[in-house]
Amino acid sequence: MPSNMLHVAIVDYGINNIRSVRNAVEYCGFDPVISQDRAAIEDASHVILPGVGAFGDAMAKLRARGLDDVLERVVREKGKPFLAVCLGMQLLARASEEHADDGEPHRGLGWLDADIRRIRPNDPELKIPHMGWNTVSKMREHPALAAIRPGNLAFYFVHSFSMHCNDERDVVGCAQYGQSITAIVARDHIVATQFHPEKSQDSGIELLGNFLRWNP
């Protein structure tokens, strides 16, 4: 398969713990390259945008390295298969209210018609962050979920903000936490997960492998 011959680009924009994403890609039998270099990202078969930390800070780091333009070109114009994880998924939204103390929400990449809002459970037993393993219900089928048995659709989440999509067709899976939590979104060759597949044991590795073998 030609996709096996090419490397998988993991976008490096100055966040710390992306080793596990690299290790998981390697475990799936692919060749990961952590890079912020335009050429390395353009030459990849698949592109992964990891993410931990704060929304505004992450967007500032992407922009400071010109990676917002690189992703626009590689993913949106050239149509490479693209996976965004956790905060990476949130960056696809138009805006986030995270740390928007001055009332002005932070702007995201705006690839999805969606916004990021704080999770506000009414039940005091529901702690924030939403941290741990939660079950994901499929709204529709997607190649990234191929062959994962329904009983294994539990993944590791850790986040305090969640995505609200205005276009329901983008939503592939949801989790429940006092409210519906958008867990997987997808449009065309783009797929994104709020949970961490690289931390979700066999189910996560299956999802990641499905993505890496995906040629939309």
Binding site: N17, Y27, H130, M131, G151, A154, Q176, Q201
Partner: protein, 258 residues
Amino acid sequence: MLKKRLIPKFLLRDGRLVKYVRFFENERMAGNPVTTAKVYNDYGVDELIVLDIVPSEASRARVVDVIERMSEEIFMPFTVGGGVRTPDDVAALLRAGADKVSVNSQAVRRPQFVREAARIFGDQCMTVSIDYRKVGPRHCNVFIDGGRERVPLDPVEWALRCQDLHCGEILLGSIDRDGTMDGYDLDMIHLLAGRLGVPLIVSGGCGSLQHAIDALESGASAVAISSMFLFTDHSPIKLRSHLASRGLNVRAGVGSRN
């Protein structure tokens, strides 16, 4: 809904797995941490906690090596701690493959460190570990430096303060019950879980399947378990299926990779 978490807790001394009773008594060697972690991974535990109990520059290098090796083959969250004092310490552990970093003594000595690190790395990265013991009939104090130094803080008040400092979760450990397998400090768990807005992991005393049920039903988000998994025939698989049969919401269908 969100599952209750089962978390083996590894104590490392010079990179080797050890276990004590009440922090200092009855040291036992407990094997190779990477090998043991792989076994637990096959059992489908939900996370791992790895704490360096006699931290030094040399032991940090060994812990980093252990975490790097674990993260090559084990794809679940790791919380790593022991001797964490600066943002550089946090960054080094995250780079090695940790997802969360546990801070204990330094949080007491310089509380603003928690806030600073949370701002840099995200609240979810910062776990504050709180060790405490009873010092009077109805009175507990926090102990730092691996249980050696008593500080005039009430564990509940201190945990709430850490939450205000933007920690992502609290790891609460009873020194009195550590390694005894006599059961968790349920009164304390009940008291703290009822007031805390971030997840609470509890540690110290689990020796039976019922102990884990009691802690989770008292409001803990997760149980940290060391002695019971290392020294009894209660495996994570057995615990999980027992919890599920008693109606607790835990991950099902894992731990049987075939």
